[in-house]
């Protein structure tokens, strides 16, 4: 019995740690990122470089994927300065839509959430890493978001309306 007690304590302690917010969630919740248009992807997809901010570079790719999908849904993609790559309006343009569907998006962007279905790293190139200060890095990764599939999913889930009345 005495041997079991420490094991129980260890199990309880580890589960408590598991319940706490992961670092990636803390980085993501503030949605700090910028989008840099790169090239025109094939029809139905958008390719761009996403610059994310975090303290641990090992979270870079995961963070980039989340931010990229968030950007396509809420911010849109700017056109390139030379006009070669056209921009795209955000899929969700109402300013209140995010708060109205808070629970849906909490689940959508959770660890291993549905957002992963719509985004891939565009190439195997190493990410661009810039040290912002002693504690923070800015990581740039080129990603491809399947915007057509993402739009259809949001339409199906009743978050955005289908084309028409």
């Amino acid at each position: 019995m005495k041997r079991i007690l420490p094991l129980c304590f260890l199990a309880l302690f580890s589960s408590l740690i598991g319940c706490g917010p992961k670092k990636i969630d803390i980085y993501t919740n503030v949605w700090r990122y910028s989008i840099e248009p790169t090239f025109t992807a094939k029809a139905g997809s958008k390719a761009f470089k996403i610059w994310s901010y975090c303290r641990n570079t090992s979270y870079g790719l995961e963070l980039a994927k989340r931010n990229a999908v968030h950007g396509v849904i809420f911010k849109g993609i700017p056109a390139s300065a030379d006009g070669r790559v056209s921009g795209q309006m955000a899929l969700l343009r109402s300013s209140t839509s995010e708060s109205q569907n808070q629970e849906y998006f909490n689940n959508f962007f959770a660890n291993g959430g549905s957002y992963l279905k719509f985004v891939t790293q565009a190439s195997d190139e190493a990410p661009d890493i810039i040290r912002v200060n002693n504690k923070e890095f800015k990581i740039g990764i080129v990603v491809t978001v399947n915007s057509d599939l993402l739009r259809k999913q949001l339409e199906q889930d009743g978050i955005i309306r289908k084309l028409g009345l």
Binding site: A43, S86, Q88, M89, S147, K162, L163, G164, L165
Partner: protein
């Protein structure tokens, strides 16, 4: 056993019938879209005809001639139509609508000759009335050549068929390519801009649903009529005020703009009529103005003649039929 079976059948049929009665009717009807080559493209390629607009000659596109002479047009329109179909909004086929129009030409001739005071309609107006498209997408394209490589510059303009207002546009140049297929070049050029174009169309649809469809409405009087719009023979106010009250009550949130009002004319612009009537049918300028014609006849025993131009312009001439 037979009784049980019959009772079961009866209840099944009855419950299905009741369920069908209770089911809410889906009033949602998607707007109709039609893609046409732009006036500019038709003129540049010589596909025009001259139309006599009450003494003034006007050049208008001749789509039939364009289809017969341009091998690119079919494939280009099919490519753009495909983009709409992929968003669950199939566009009307221009060629088919032209055939329908030809079949209805005899009926149109009757419409314009009945009173001798008919409203002059261009072939384009007649096409709009036949196709009943809510949105017209005008497409212009030019092929750029750089050695063996070609690229396409395009302009898409979405026009509200009722008001003629531009509601969405997109323009761009696709990447240079060696492909001989114009449709592929155009698709490459358009695809990057299509999402934004459709997003702007959706904003317009949201506006229509929210504020109603915009039409232009005109009231005139026949010179043979012994009264005018300032007469007070029909109530405690001038006839024009009574009509204005009716328009106010029959527009979405009373949205309309009375631009001009004299004893013989009332011109309403940006009249926001409901998108659907009480039965869930799409309401046009004609059907909306016809309710006013009936109201004037039933309430004040005033005869009037209703004339329409295209889908979004109606004119009621008061005094006789």
């Amino acid at each position: 056993m037979k009784k049980i079976f019959l009772t079961f059948c009866f209840f099944t049929i009855a419950s299905n019938f009741l369920a069908a009665q209770d089911a809410p009717k889906d009033r949602r009807k998607n707007p109709e879209i039609m893609v046409v080559p732009s006036d500019n493209w038709c003129i540049q390629n010589g596909f025009i005809e001259t139309f006599d607009d009450q003494g003034t000659s006007r050049d208008v596109p001749n789509y039939k001639k364009a289809f017969q002479n341009s091998s690119d047009l079919l494939s280009v329109l099919a490519g753009i139509n495909q983009s709409f179909a992929s968003r669950s909004m199939p566009a009307l086929n221009l060629e088919q609508e032209l055939k329908k129009l030809e079949a209805q030409s005899a009926e149109d001739a009757l419409l314009t000759s009945k009173s001798g005071a008919g409203v002059s309609e261009s072939p384009m107006d007649r096409l709009m009335k036949t196709a009943k498209a809510d949105i017209i997408i005008q497409l212009t394209w030019t092929v750029n050549r750089n050695g063996m490589a070609r690229s396409v510059t395009f302009t898409l303009q979405g026009l509200d068929a009722y008001t003629g207002k531009e509601i969405a546009s997109a323009t761009g140049t696709g990447p240079a390519s060696y492909t001989p297929e114009l449709a592929i070049l155009l698709e490459e050029a358009v695809s990057a801009h299509m999402d934004n174009f459709l997003a702007r169309l959706q904003e317009h649809f949201d506006d229509l649903l929210d504020k109603g469809r915009a039409i232009e409405f005109r009231i005139k009087t026949f010179s043979s009529w012994d009264k005018d719009l300032e007469t007070e023979d029909y109530g405690d106010d001038e006839l024009s005020s009574l009509i204005e009250k009716w328009v106010d009550a029959n527009t979405v949130d009373g949205n309309f703009n009375l631009v001009d009002a004299t004893e013989n004319l009332m011109l309403f612009k940006d009249v926001r009529i409901p998108f659907f009537d009480d039965k869930g049918k799409a309401l046009s300028a004609r059907s909306w103005a016809n309710t006013l014609r009936k109201y004037l006849k039933d309430t004040y025993q005033i005869e009037s003649k209703l004339m329409t131009k295209g889908l979004g312009q109606a004119q009621l001439v008061i005094g006789e039929k």
